[in-house]
């Protein structure tokens, strides 16, 4: 029920907050992943770490899609090394007409651009590969996300180079041996309040049907058949 009052000649919409509750968390729709993470806070930065030069683009795409679904808005993808292939992103089910691709020439501009995008209300999620961040820069990104309301997803290398962080959740993403049509990743939560830190979950994507699902790693992987979520359009 909306309540509109006219006070001092100015229409005021009261109870606006209750009408459209601003959700503080977003969910991927994959129970195992959501439970382990304890929900994904929207106004914050999430870090996905990859080892040996691996950049966990797929996991970032899944998170970005979930954030877009929750907030509705634009996706900004900072593509510093010009390797992002938009058809692959469209294959994940992300609407390319709501995508802004940033390719700054100077690496010094990257942190500034990410902070500006995080601070903007119209942006739902920002994905960026940032290697080295100073403590101040990491904190600045987190504050920008808190001020603006968008979700930051940072792809960073694991190790000493990403020692400084101010993210709400940190995941270590490792590719796992899969099958012909199945591609698997191991997502280990290494930092996050409210989540089960230290435990991991397996993300599985079927390249033929486009389904993706998450399940807890158990001895017999085939025994666990969690509900599958279809990606793609």
């Amino acid at each position: 029920m909306q309540v509109v009052s006219c006070y001092l000649g100015k229409l005021q919409l009261t109870e606006n907050k209750r009408l459209k509750p601003v959700e503080r968390m977003f969910h991927t729709g994959m129970e195992a992943l959501d439970e382990l993470a304890g929900g994904f806070p929207r106004r914050s930065v999430h870090e996905l770490l990859g080892e040996d030069g691996y950049k966990p683009g797929f996991a970032a795409g899944i998170l970005a899609k979930a954030a877009l679904h929750a907030a509705g808005g634009w996706l900004v993808w900072l593509d510093g090394d010009r390797r992002l292939y938009p058809p692959g992103l469209a294959g994940l089910g992300i609407d390319l007409s709501r995508l802004i691709l940033l390719r700054p020439d100077k690496p010094g501009e990257q942190v500034w651009a990410v902070a500006e995008c995080l601070r903007c209300k119209g942006v739902a999620a920002v994905v960026a590969a940032l290697d080295r961040l100073s403590r101040i820069e990491a904190r600045r990104l987190q504050l920008a996300a808190e001020a603006g309301g968008s979700t930051g997803i940072l792809l960073r290398p694991a190790g000493r180079i990403s020692r400084e962080y101010a993210a709400a959740r940190r995941w270590l993403v490792r590719p796992l041996p899969g099958q012909r049509t199945m591609q698997r990743w191991n997502l280990q939560l290494i930092h996050g309040h409210g989540g089960r830190v230290g435990q991991s979950v397996i993300l599985e994507a079927n390249r033929e049907t486009g389904h993706v699902r998450a399940y807890a790693p158990v001895a017999d992987r085939q025994a666990e058949q969690g509900p599958a979520m279809r990606i793609g359009a």
Binding site: L84, Y85, I100, W112, E116, P175, Q183
Partner: protein
Amino acid sequence: MPQWPIDRLNRGRRCGSGHEQETKHPEGESANGRNRPFHAIENQKSKIERPLVLIDTIASRRIVAVVSAEARQFGIREGLTLAEARALCPSLVHAPHEPENDWKALTKLARWMRRFSPIVALPDCREAAQQAGFHVFLDVTGCERLFGGLYSLLEQVDEAFRSLRISARLAIAPTPGAAFALAFSGRHGVIVGTDQVREALTSLPPIALRICQGIAQSLHHLGLETIGQVLALPREALPARFGPELLRRIEQALGLLPEPLEPVPHHAPICAGMDFDGVVDSLETIWLVFKQLIARVIIELARRECGARKVELRLHRSDGRPIVKEIHLSRPTRNAASLFNLMRCATESGIECRMSGSGKLTCAQPALDWHIPAGFTSIRLRVPVFERLAHEQLPLMEQELHDAQAELDCLVERLVLRLGREAVLQARLIESHIPEHACTVVPFAAPARNPQSATGHSSRPLSLLPAPREIGVMVSPSDDRDGRPISFTLNGRPHRVVFATGPERIAGQWWIGHHKTRDYFTVETESGRRLWIFRVRETNRWYWHGEY
């Protein structure tokens, strides 16, 4: 102004050499012309006095369109070809005829003429101006008091035209039609009162009434050589014989029919500036000045109900050239906060402000090699392009959505300003089976109202190398050209292929000369990474192209 195109061209040539400003601001010319050294004027005279014609090129024929007074003495007339004109006068100079530029210059002149009268009107349309000769109407009703009488006003205007070196004939009459007729037929400097209009017009040729060439011709064939003879005819018969135009022009000239003058619109520039007593180099002060200047500009924009589309910022330094920054806005705005953010971004990126410990700024222009540790002496803000800001009605519940969209527009402007247009991009899918061509990136533009959702292939990788990189691959069976990869070397490290899916055969675009065919494989290594590699069938070489 019988010679307007020629005069304009000569003025342009005279001023074009060094003083670009003068063509734009004719008021500077009168002063400069007098102060110029004598020999310079002599040189110009000799140049000007050479016969000049302006030519139109119609297909391959070059036809004389405008003839200067000097050229006319040689017998050159409009409509001759250039070759014929050259035969008449070997020293003939010619230039292309540019009616567009003539009209633009006439508009500028009209704007400049506003110093004599608030109402300055241009001819009805461009074609009429070309046909009847370029002219400008000034409504001087009541203005003579400021100039000491009508004669004095006429003299001052004449003097102004002479110093601009524009040959013009002036006449003052109660109606625009009569004034034009007098000036057109060479009565320079006449002033006609209300009761003398009819007598003044009687002896003039009918073409001076601003009628088209056809009517004038038919009047000539009938032996009507003066306006007086036309006036003697029964007035009711005129429209039936010559069409409505002739009677309308006669009545306008006599003041029986009103002819309102449409004044040239007045555009005052929107600008604000601040001069400092000394050199200001504190960043906080400069930002404070920005805020004040923006506030002043916004008041003016609000008064006109407009929003800025382009903002020009000039930072004058005590030494060296001023730093000029132009900010283009994707849509009109007069929001102080967003304008300030943009200006801050512009100064930060271009001047490379660096805050030292004391809060002073050092600026270094990328184009210059040296660092100038100096501040600014004055700051100017100008809004050269502005547009009407439409009031929008928002649905009650969509306020948030609108805010978010407006904020996004501001964000894109800031990003474009600092990173450059080529760095803020939009991806579009293209129907193509070649992976590199299946997608294009274009500079970000305002989103369409109904975005079409594009569907991609879930079998495509998420990252694609800008150029495929050659790798060494072992295939099994080893001697077979159709063998499947079993291991490959990447960055000097061998990787065993656990399994490979494929091949997906993609043929090149043979119709534009790409005959090579690729066999794409998706390979998974022991570590679980999935790569997209291909073999060129013709050369049997392997390349790494993407990663899932």
